[in-house]
């Protein structure tokens, strides 16, 4: 058994436990984007960073991939961690402004402005399909790739390219025979959800369903969507009409 301290509390866990698992066990919340129980930790989104060690030798590490070590001192909510999360979410909102999940995380962490220009949507026509397809807002969390490979045992999609060219892709841009059209990739995607169109004070509905379009590379006839009103809409709807939240308007034409 390994002894660690999380936010001052002592804890004993089995060898091989990650910091995230230890924190979840004791009940400390750590935000994540690319983590999913049942999939191997990936460490791409960087949202789960926590501070380990003592100053001046302390550092930020991703709690989902870092395994606990004897005597480790962990802080899940230090100033450094909070600053990192806010700066990260600022970048995430700019990368994926229409993602409800990311907008929610940003407002929960107290992000009040986004200093970057939002990503304009990428329009792409894939051979064989008539429709231009959106691949906007993909944060490359890898959940779709990992669920396809590890849970569905299909391996029909993967990552292609390096650096800014990296993207989720089908082999040679063709739907693989291995794709069983199961929709797990759609289900797993944190961006592929209700489109957040910002607060609409005149109606109760957030109107997200009107703007819904899946952010993957094929259109499905039966979309699987999970509609829940977002915080901004809840606050500015019939519950709290006096509160105005300043949300930067996406500056591009749809």
């Amino acid at each position: 058994m390994i002894h660690v301290t999380i936010n001052g509390l002592s804890l004993e866990v089995k060898k091989g436990t990650t910091i995230l698992e230890a924190a979840q066990f004791i009940g400390f919340p750590i935000p994540t984007l690319c983590h999913e129980d049942g999939l191997r930790p990936y460490g791409a989104c960087r949202m789960c960073v926590v501070e380990i060690g003592e100053t001046p030798r302390s550092k930020l590490v991703t709690s989902c991939t870092y395994k606990v070590e004897e005597g480790m001192k962990i802080r899940t909510d230090s100033m450094r961690v909070q600053r990192a999360r806010r700066l990260l979410l600022e970048l995430y909102v700019a990368t994926s402004p229409l993602s409800k999940r990311i907008q929610d995380m940003a407002s929960a962490m107290g992000v009040r402005e986004v200093r970057y220009d939002p990503e304009p949507p990428k329009r792409e026509t894939i051979a064989g399909l008539q429709l231009p397809v959106d691949r906007e807002g993909c944060i490359q969390c890898g959940l779709c790739v990992r669920i396809c490979n590890e849970q569905m045992m299909a391996g029909a999609i993967g990552f292609s390219g390096r650096g800014v060219q990296r993207r989720v892709a089908r082999p040679f841009e063709q739907t693989s025979e291995l794709c069983r059209q199961c929709g797990a990739c759609l289900y797993a995607c944190p961006v592929c959800e209700l489109r957040c169109a910002g607060p609409q004070p005149e109606s109760t509905l957030c109107s997200g369903c009107l703007n819904f379009s899946p952010v993957c590379f094929q259109s499905y006839e039966d979309a699987m969507c999970f509609l829940t009103p977002c915080h901004a809409c809840e606050l500015s709807g019939p519950i709290r009409p006096d509160v105005k939240i300043r949300v930067r308007e996406p500056k591009f034409a749809r």
């Binding site: 960087r46 870092y66 070590e69 200093r115 390096r162 800014v164 060219q165």
Partner: protein, 636 residues
């Protein structure tokens, strides 16, 4: 040459004699610097010209190629060694001049010669082989290498054989004390003793991170897992850095010897040299050296009849800078995508194929034979308290002596730039020096009293890194430099972690905006915030240092950024959107040279009358500035 085996000390001595008769024959020897830098400058044509002259005149001279002696700005280099005479070096040799030099032998062509050598240092044995003393006669007026500032401050331990031996000759390597360290290690020391010597020496990883090598070797030795692996990181991706290339091309056996000793010390029997694909000459030299060592049974089973066996193979990279990162390198060898992995676990515990792996840089391995023969304590006498030994640097940019130099740790930047480098050409002032490649930063000229070692440069906001040193004069725009390195990092990022992939992209967008005069003052705070995030939260070393070029230029040259933002002006007159080209009507005599080269057809006027530049069509390529012989073109 009949096959020979090297099984004992006696074999080494016997073959030394053969090697010495090749190093110091009883006939005139002509050496041409045939490293990649030499070949790029035209050494192939020079070698061909020499060979043709020698054949034509049936001259009794030996002609051979050698590695990089480090004097890159003088390439192609031609050396003549006449028995009993000093070795004379000719610089900037053309094929025509080469023919004249050969024909005139043994007479020296003084106006083309640049230096002479009295003898050769041998750091392995500690002895100096003198082949000429000044009593022997003629005064040449030629400076000796030991008197030239470029060379007299150098201590060539790692580059000991570069430029002296034929890199394709195992015999010459042995004659210079090669494989003596291996014999001593295998036959006289235990593995633990070898590690002790390395630890005593204070050697730290030369790839840039500077981890104590002895500690790493000890960790691999103690790690549980079988088999263990030795890897040589020869990926060398930093732009402008070619230190490892010099060693791989000029003295390939030194790396092999170091690796076999490492294998013995740590209990590994397989070594892999991962060379970047863009170094074809280095790859072929290493493969040739491995073949020679295998034939001589210095690689294989039962080396030096000690019972120890070791094999080495070469693996080529596939064009990714990120594969210089150790975990990405290991993935690449395993045939997977070169994406870095989180550490811990470190390769020493779980490396190649999940087994304990020691991965060290080329320069680190090449230091090992010297440490074994001279002892760790001797080695620790070179350098500073925390940074022992020497370091090779590639000194490039706006510098008089572009060179590959090797100096003791602790040498100051001022000494490197002004003494060894010979200062800035064309009477320009020095602005800064960029060290450590894309992971490093810029250090302004007023901080050149800093010593070069692992720790001092880090406090100034840069790193020593693997040894790249780019000197910049006052015609360099620091915003432009930040943009250049960001572009490189953006290209080379593996793309897995969000902060590096998107962060470098965003940094690039902001810095580009600033260089175009569209920046806002708030952008500087944003650069610092984003730079902080990328540094703190990225997965690997590439990401963690990706913001350094921006952060260090912002730290020391903030006024330059502000000039771009507030005044929409580039003080160094580099950023294209902010400069205009114009012709001085007083100086211009209408010769029309600029019109010939103008890429935008933007120069208007008639012959013999002053020309003007139409700003609307000017592409700011700068061709007119170069073409004008009357200094009539100027930049605003």
């Amino acid at each position: 040459m009949k096959a020979f085996y090297i099984h004992s000390l006696e074999d080494l001595h016997e073959l030394s004699t053969a090697g010495n008769s090749s190093l110091y024959p009883n006939r005139t020897k002509i050496l041409v610097g045939m490293a990649t830098c030499g070949q790029a400058a035209g050494a192939n044509e020079v070698l061909q010209a020499v060979q043709e002259e020698v054949e034509k005149g049936q001259l009794p001279y030996f002609v051979m190629g050698t590695g990089c002696i480090g004097w890159c700005s003088q390439e192609p280099l031609l050396d003549i060694w006449v028995p009993g005479q000093p070795r004379v070096t000719y610089g900037r040799v053309t094929p025509e001049r080469a023919r004249k030099i050969v024909r005139a032998l043994p007479e020296i062509q003084h106006n083309w010669a640049v230096a002479l050598m009295h003898g050769d240092d041998n750091p392995i044995t500690g002895k100096f082989k003198k082949y000429w003393s000044s009593k022997n006669g003629h005064k040449n007026g030629l400076p000796s290498y030991k008197d030239l500032p470029l060379f007299k401050h150098q201590t060539r331990l790692v580059m000991r054989n570069c430029g002296i031996i034929d890199p394709s000759s195992l015999l010459e390597y042995v004659a210079r004390g090669g494989y003596l360290a291996l014999w001593q290690g295998l036959r006289k020391h235990s593995p633990e003793q070898v590690i002790r010597e390395i630890t005593t020496s204070g050697l730290r990883g030369r790839g840039g991170a500077g981890f104590p090598t002895g500690k790493k070797w000890q960790a691999v030795r103690e790690a549980s897992g079988d088999p263990k692996y030795i890897i040589c990181n020869a990926d060398e991706g930093d732009p402008g850095a070619y230190m490892d290339r010099g060693v791989l091309e000029g003295d390939p056996h030194s790396v092999l010897e170091g690796m076999i000793l490492g294998g013995y010390a740590m209990g590994a029997h397989e070594g892999i040299i991962y060379v970047r694909e863009e170094y074809p000459l280095a790859v072929s030299r290493m493969k040739e050296a491995i073949q020679q060592a295998e034939q001589a049974e210095l690689l294989g089973d039962n080396i030096f009849e000690s019972g120890f066996s070791f094999h080495i193979r070469v693996v080529k990279g596939a064009g990714a800078f990120v594969c210089g990162e150790e975990t990405a390198l290991i993935r690449s060898i395993e045939g997977k995508v070169g994406e870095p992995q989180q550490r811990p676990p470190y390769p020493a515990q779980q490396g190649l194929w999940g087994k304990p792996t020691c991965i060290n840089n080329v320069e680190t391995w090449a230091n090992v034979p010297v440490i074994v023969t001279r002892g760790g304590k001797w080695f620790a006498g070179v350098g500073t308290e925390k940074s022992k030994g020497t370091k090779i640097f590639s000194l490039v940019g706006n510098i008089e002596n572009t060179a590959l130099i090797e100096v003791p740790m602790g040498t100051t930047l001022a000494s490197v730039v002004y003494e060894i480098g010979g200062g800035i050409p064309n009477g320009n002032a020095c602005k800064a020096i960029q060290t450590g490649g894309p992971s490093g930063g810029c250090i302004p000229a007023d901080k050149f009293d800093l010593p070069v070692d692992y720790d001092s440069l880090m406090q100034a906001g840069s790193i020593m890194g693997s040894g790249g040193m780019i000197v910049m004069d006052d015609h360099t725009c620091m915003v432009d430099i930040a943009k250049y390195f960001l572009g490189f990092l953006q290209d080379e990022s593996c793309g897995k972690c969000f902060t590096c992939r998107v962060g470098t992209q965003r940094l690039m967008q902001i810095v580009t905006r600033i260089s175009e005069g569209k920046g806002k003052e708030e952008d500087l705070d944003l650069l610092e915030d984003l730079g902080w995030l990328i540094k703190e939260a990225s997965l690997c070393g590439l990401g963690q240092t990706a913001a350094n070029p921006v952060l260090s230029t912002l730290r020391y040259f903030r006024s330059e950024y502000l000039a771009h933002i507030r005044d929409k002006r580039c003080p160094a007159k580099v950023c294209r959107e902010l400069i205009t080209f114009a012709i001085d009507p007083v100086t211009c005599n209408g010769c029309g040279a600029c019109v010939q080269v103008c890429s935008g057809s933007a120069i208007l006027g008639e012959k013999k009358k002053p020309y003007t530049i139409d700003a609307a069509h000017c592409t700011k390529c700068g061709a007119c500035l170069e073409a004008c012989k009357f200094d009539a073109v100027f930049v605003n």
